[in-house]
Symmetry: C2
Subunit: 515 residues, 2 copies
């Protein structure tokens, strides 16, 4: 310790990077093993894999919470003083700030509480599956109550020594650093009103574009081959990543130069596969956009789940569901698939990929209604954390909101408040990151167009490098330099708001539905 205290900041920083690099190396191995489990692993390997993952996460935690890391951080902080607290700034300052944040969070959580959550959510996850199948909320409600109790305690631990407005904020902070319920509400409320209104105006038109992209039996191999080409074309680097299949699409990886994304293929749903691959490619390109010199450090990491989602949504929606994209993509499909898509018309494909319909299931929702599904969950989880809503009253409150925002009656909890797995995993604070992603995406996209001019003309020719380059410079290469909200202001010149997303939606759906 003595020796350490006499260290210079540079020397301490060097050691800190080495130690933290080892932690992220183990973390990357775990991420990779998760990918392997969902994509490659034979069924009998499950127990063995669980042991490996448990051990790696234990090692990772042990290596993070040692006093030595705290000492090294203190030396750096003493030397670089006030810079550390501020956002932006040079790489070493960002790295120290973010390692400090992680270190403090990890030290604040008692091992018993972590184990209690793991065990409670493991039981809750099983009970959730059963209850959803049986359409019986009572089989899950006790588990959710217990989990919420643990999460309240966790929120208290995490907020120790910090000013946190409410418990939900402390939990959401793990997915979206700095996120606050009040601020999210301030953006979501007007957005919700404008979306409900837009959905109403669309519904009134009674127009249902035909889904001409899906419904054609293309087969597995042909779909995979086509979507790989599209992913490569928009900029996903297959020298540094793979695309495979899994039950649910996701994007993960083993670390620098090794992104693993997946999709799920149904033989006659090429449009669905394509959207999911555009989405996951967005995540993947964000990861690939980090600079090698920052690999394993916070400066080579992502800002928040909301910002990650902004990248996936931009390629899925702003690009992949735009008319200009389809002017190019329809031609690619005619060329690739011959008679299967012989008469495919770009306008029809574009409209077909953009059908809006009120529905009960979030994961199948369109670009407009999707955010309403998210808001229902956000509002209810905040209410539960605040103690304004009892778990027993969750189904009723859920159904009421679906009636209010989407005009739908929920027949049972299986397609109601039990449809998503998140709460059973204890993931409170996660849902809003989906809609935050849509909001950031729209605002970033407008900024990119202001900076780059007519990028959409390029899309028509299958050129996407301009947009990707702008994202790399302004977002990917910035790592964790800024918090999500600050990055948004820095890049777009404005705080996060609902306007950009609404302009995007009004323009597109106004055009399609003749509003």
């Amino acid at each position: 310790m003595k020796e350490r205290l006499s260290m210079t900041g540079e020397k301490a920083y060097e050691q800190l990077c080495k130690k933290y690099g080892e932690i992220t190396t183990l973390r990357n191995v775990s991420w990779g093993l998760h990918w392997d489990q969902d994509v490659m692993m034979p069924t009998m390997g499950l127990k063995n894999r669980a042991r490996q993952l448990e051990m790696l996460s234990g090692l990772e935690h042990e290596m993070l919470v040692v006093d030595e890391i705290g000492d090294l951080l203190s030396i750096c902080e003493d030397e670089w003083g006030e810079q550390i607290g501020s956002l932006g700034g040079e790489a070493k300052v960002v790295n120290v700030r973010e390692i400090r944040r992680e270190y403090d969070l990890a030290r604040k959580l008692p091992g018993d509480l972590v184990k209690a959550q793991t065990s409670a959510s493991s039981l809750a996850r099983g009970a959730w599956g059963e209850a959803k199948k049986d359409r019986d909320f009572k089989g899950f409600s006790g588990h959710l109550e217990k989990l919420l109790g643990i999460l309240r305690e966790k929120a208290d631990c995490l907020s120790e020594g910090k000013v946190v407005a409410e418990k939900w904020d402390a939990l959401a902070d793990l997915y979206e650093p700095g996120c606050q319920a009040r601020e999210v509400e301030a953006v979501f409320r007007p957005l919700r009103e404008r979306l409900v209104d837009l959905v109403g105006r669309i519904a009134e038109k009674g127009y249902e574009p035909k889904d001409v992209v899906n419904g054609v039996e293309v087969g597995f191999d042909a779909q995979m081959s086509f979507v790989r080409k599209i992913a490569e074309k928009i900029g996903f680097d297959f020298e540094g990543g793979r695309l495979d299949t899994s039950a649910h699409p996701f994007c993960s990886g083993y670390g620098y130069g090794d992104v693993r994304m997946t999709t799920h293929v149904t033989g006659d749903r090429l449009g669905g596969t394509l959207s999911s691959v555009m989405h996951e490619s967005g995540h993947g390109m964000y990861t690939q956009g980090a600079l090698e010199k920052h690999a394993g450090m916070p400066m080579g990491n992502y800002v928040s789940l909301g910002i990650h989602e902004s990248q996936s949504r931009m390629w899925e929606n702003q690009v992949g569901r735009s008319e200009t994209f389809w002017k190019w993509c329809a031609g690619e499909m005619r060329h690739e698939f011959g008679e299967l898509y012989e008469g495919l018309n770009a306008r029809q494909a574009y409209e077909g990929m953009n059908g809006v319909k009120r529905s009960l299931i979030r994961t199948r929702a369109d670009e407009v209604t999707y955010n309403l599904h998210v808001m229902v969950r956000f509002e209810l989880e905040v209410a539960m954390m605040r103690g304004d809503l009892e778990v027993a009253d969750l189904p009723g409150a859920w159904d009421e909101k679906y009636k209010d925002y989407l005009g739908l009656d929920v027949p049972d909890v299986g397609v109601g408040c039990l449809q998503d797995i998140h709460w059973s995993l204890g993931a409170i604070g996660y849902f809003p990151t989906y809609t935050l992603g849509n909001l950031y995406s729209a605002q970033f996209y407008e900024a990119a167009k202001r900076a780059l001019g007519d990028i959409e003309g390029g899309f028509e020719q299958g050129e996407f490098v301009g947009l990707l380059g702008w994202l790399q410079t302004n977002i990917h290469e910035q790592g964790m330099r800024y918090r999500a909200g600050d990055l948004c202001e820095e890049v777009t010149g404005e705080k996060l708001g609902a306007d950009a997303l609404m302009r995007h939606l009004e323009a597109k759906f106004g055009d399609i539905y003749g509003l």
Copy 2:
């Protein structure tokens, strides 16, 4: 330490198993990552993966060499006394004995020497590749000399406190525990003479069976689908394993229930693919045959590389190149591939899969000449370790032996003494395990037939479960209970010798070539 010394043997053993289980958990992750690197990883991931593997092997080593493991071992040894030293015996005794062996070996090697070997062989590997390409031994000889120097030092460290007849033995012990050059020579010498004689008699006949299995353009997907069926049929469990492709076939895995094997497919070489899959399935079934209760412990591990190879060779050669197997397999191929193999005749296929021809390249050699290739390498590496052969004289000595044993002139070192990568990796003592595998295989196979009666009649019907069950009981489930030689005596009633293999070869090739 005090607390530990007052521990009971049972308690110490329990803790030892926990600690050692963690070490093998990390080791299994490393094996899996190696598989991923060769089979799945995108090219850009190389540097990142190297960092992960280096870190995991460092952690694994650190966890093994701590004093605590030594203390726990001592308590068990004190309590169980003489049992520990003996072979055979109950699981806990075997586990303590083998963990002690591994612990002592790991503690004996100075970190500097390990690093020196890693760095020297990394350079040697690169130089080997260049020298092989340039067909210029001088580009490699300096590296080999340096490596041999390090290996001599390593042999001295490894033999410290043990009676080891010569340096080569200490190195071979890492692949084939207890293996001694003198003993290997005593088996190989008569085998060599009899093989040279057999090859001569075959050559005299001038008969060249036509290779009717290869040479048909079957394509990748059809080959993979067919060989997967065959692997499953002989007993490889796909619920606990996978088959993929890589540049060179191998068998590895992530641990219990998760075997990963690979093959290499050339569109018109179905026979080659099939043989390699039979071979790797043999390795894979050995791994799958370990008992779950011993997972992660020596009792759930394999005896030696020679014994591992005996399992792969048995399925590749004794089974997969037998006439009875082809009576079944030819029918399967006619059924699977329709007109591509319409007139496939079992006898012709069997003969075609068993062509014997003197050649320069080990990896392409047939079942008879293969062992002569191995012996050349074994004799030369022993001579070099003994100081009886200078590195500079290696090419000459190599060529002389190829002339003596195989009657061939070696045109250059690229197809001569530089053809294999092994020595450049510092793997002295590895080559003989290939032929040891063939010898054990033949001897085990005779024992199985004595115990089971007419198993070959079953092969004709595509029934292999009898042989596999016998291997499981007698070999796979025994883990590391015996050393290779003792296992052989235990299972076959005889010491390892050349007779069984020669009986097998004389019978088969006598029949095919009319000797």
